[in-house]
Amino acid sequence: MSAKKKNICTIIALIALGVFLVIVEQTTTESSMMRSVLQLSAIYALAAVSMNLLNGFTGLFSLGHAGFMAIGAYVFAIITIPVSKKGNVYYLYGVNDILANVELQPVLALIIAGVVAAALAALIGAPVLRLKSDYFAIATLGFAEIVRIVVASSPLNTITNGSLGLKSIPGFGSFYFPFIVVVVCIAIIILLINSTYGRAFKAIREDEIAAEAMGINLASHKQMSFITSSFFAGISGALMAMYLGAITSTTFPITLTYNILLIVVIGGMGSVTGSIVAAFLVTFAKEWWLRFLDQEMIIGTFQVPFLRTGFRMVVFSIILMLVVLFWRKGLMGQKEFSWDGLVRTLKKIGGIFTGKNRKPSASEGGGASE
């Protein structure tokens, strides 16, 4: 395929996605499943891409993402809750004097939420980034837990409302708002990855010793990646706060980090498009497509066994295991989506059905049907 053709395809695909969103907006009601799951998926996509920047592109295995999202969410909530509703929210502990009259625009507040998360990352980055692999993961995991506990602690009652959490957080306003924010943020991350700094990140992932011998300052580049990743994690956390409308410290447990890590791994460590696709697939499967497994089902007089609340997660986990078994490097590996790749994949699938060009290779199909 020529470059021109590819560009046309890309533009058509983007327009199609836009049209799809417009159709959803026009045809569904405010509270429809489609709408909310799409929005949630977009938020997860941003969280996953920002985590991928650190875990997949720089090779720093961080597990502190939920912590940075919590910071973003709380900062956003604290500065955007309407002044008129503050008394209602902080009814038990009262509101801190400094915050009593603060009510900022959502877009500005989003940026501030990101900046605060990034500032905290800069602060803990210096000591934590000296650690390697597992130790770094444990330190960031600890950080996320500390954030969660500090946020709910009593000295901060007048700011974070302690364990009661915050509510009356302004929503998206428009259906399109989260999508626009997510697209802009991911575009910035992609530009960064494709710049010379992105290449330096990849060099660090591939081989730290060689990267350093090529004149790349490890400390400053790791710090840069960590801060950028946390900035966007903060923004995704803030979007999450907008989406939910109410947050407590338990909204951002360690398992949230694992959910995002799951998306990153399924999509492919080191693939932005992989993370985006996986975010939508995983969220849709978990929140919607598998819902029917949670209800009892009776066909004729036969009651289908196992189906009850929570069974959906069992099936979901099995599907995940199968995916990881057959796609060892995630759906996309380290590659990005390309039209050539799509054509190749389609041909391969076509080949399986028509029985042509079937090679006896282990990677193909994996003998699933035998």
């Binding site: 530009l191 960064l192 010379t196 700094y197 591939e206 060689a210 004149g215």
Partner: protein, 279 residues
């Protein structure tokens, strides 16, 4: 000495715990020379390389690049009582540059066991080495406010690949190249940092005779084309004798001989270190 020396290693001792890996090493390398560093296995050659490039901080001694100190250290703390080397008390400062800073000052290296950026393309491998001279900040790099610089960087890298006959493989993944080409790529990547001094750690390891003959020619060629000074560690005697103008011989961490290839070949101490002695 009339010639200008580029690297000067003074009394460098490298001790790990109780093991003295390099003992009181003194070397001088002049501009434009190709110098060999040889010795039996475990003689401390690679350790010497790692101290020069900043991977290890020397326990005692100093290293100068073009008269400028790049490493200086003296035993301190626990090492003070454990130190087994010489010249204790001769050095007082602790100047310890990290490898990236030393590379910026003009020393590039290759590795004994090839360390390419495995999953990246040949072109990207070279491009990354150009990153350190990049001026634009992350912000303008992200938003492409500096496309001229980026373009220049790409052109330079491409020119380098063309010069080293790697341009046909430019979009191949680094590890998909045949072994000999991977070695060439590693050298190309080191050259992309615009070094004054190039350190090659066993460049002919695993090469067949024909490949190592080509390598010999290649080393001469890059020295002349890039106005380099080259320090090479090698086991392959034919290559060392063919390519080096001067040779240092290490054994058990200490320098045992220094001279032209002819002198080294006839030096009884060297023969003893390599072949043992009749008793």
């Amino acid at each position: 000495m009339s010639k200008e020396n580029i690297l000067k290693v003074c009394d460098v001792t490298m001790q790990f715990g109780g093991v003295v890996a390099v003992n009181n090493l003194n070397m001088e390398i002049n501009k434009g020379e190709i110098v060999g560093l040889i010795g039996p296995n475990g003689a401390g050659k690679t350790t010497a390389f790692n101290t020069i490039t900043g991977v290890y901080a020397p326990t005692n001694g100093a290293i100068y690049l073009e008269g400028k100190v790049i490493a200086e250290n003296h035993p301190s703390g626990k090492m003070k009582s454990a130190y087994k080397g010489q010249n204790m008390g001769k050095y007082h400062k602790a100047v310890l540059l990290t490898p990236d800073k030393i590379t910026k000052l003009g020393i590039a290296r290759t590795f004994q066991n090839i360390r390419l950026f495995k999953d990246l393309t040949v072109f990207e491998n070279v491009l990354i080495a150009k990153h350190m001279n990049y001026r634009a900040n992350p912000f303008s790099a992200t938003f492409r406010l500096n496309h001229k610089e980026e373009k220049a960087m790409r052109e330079e890298s491409l020119r380098l690949l063309t010069l080293l006959d790697l341009e046909k493989n430019k979009d191949d993944i680094a590890t998909s190249l045949p072994y000999g080409k991977q070695r060439h790529l590693e050298i190309a990547r080191a050259l992309a940092t615009n070094p004054k001094l190039l350190l090659l750690d066993e460049p002919a390891a695993g090469m067949n005779p024909q490949e190592s003959d080509e390598l010999m020619e290649f080393i001469h060629r890059i020295r002349d084309d890039f106005h380099l000074t080259i320090l090479v560690i090698e086991h392959h005697m034919q290559l060392v004798m063919g390519v080096c103008e001067r040779i240092y011989v290490l054994d058990y961490g200490s320098l045992i001989a220094e001279g032209t290839p002819e002198e080294i070949q006839n030096n009884p101490k060297v023969i003893e270190a390599y072949l043992g002695v009749d008793e």
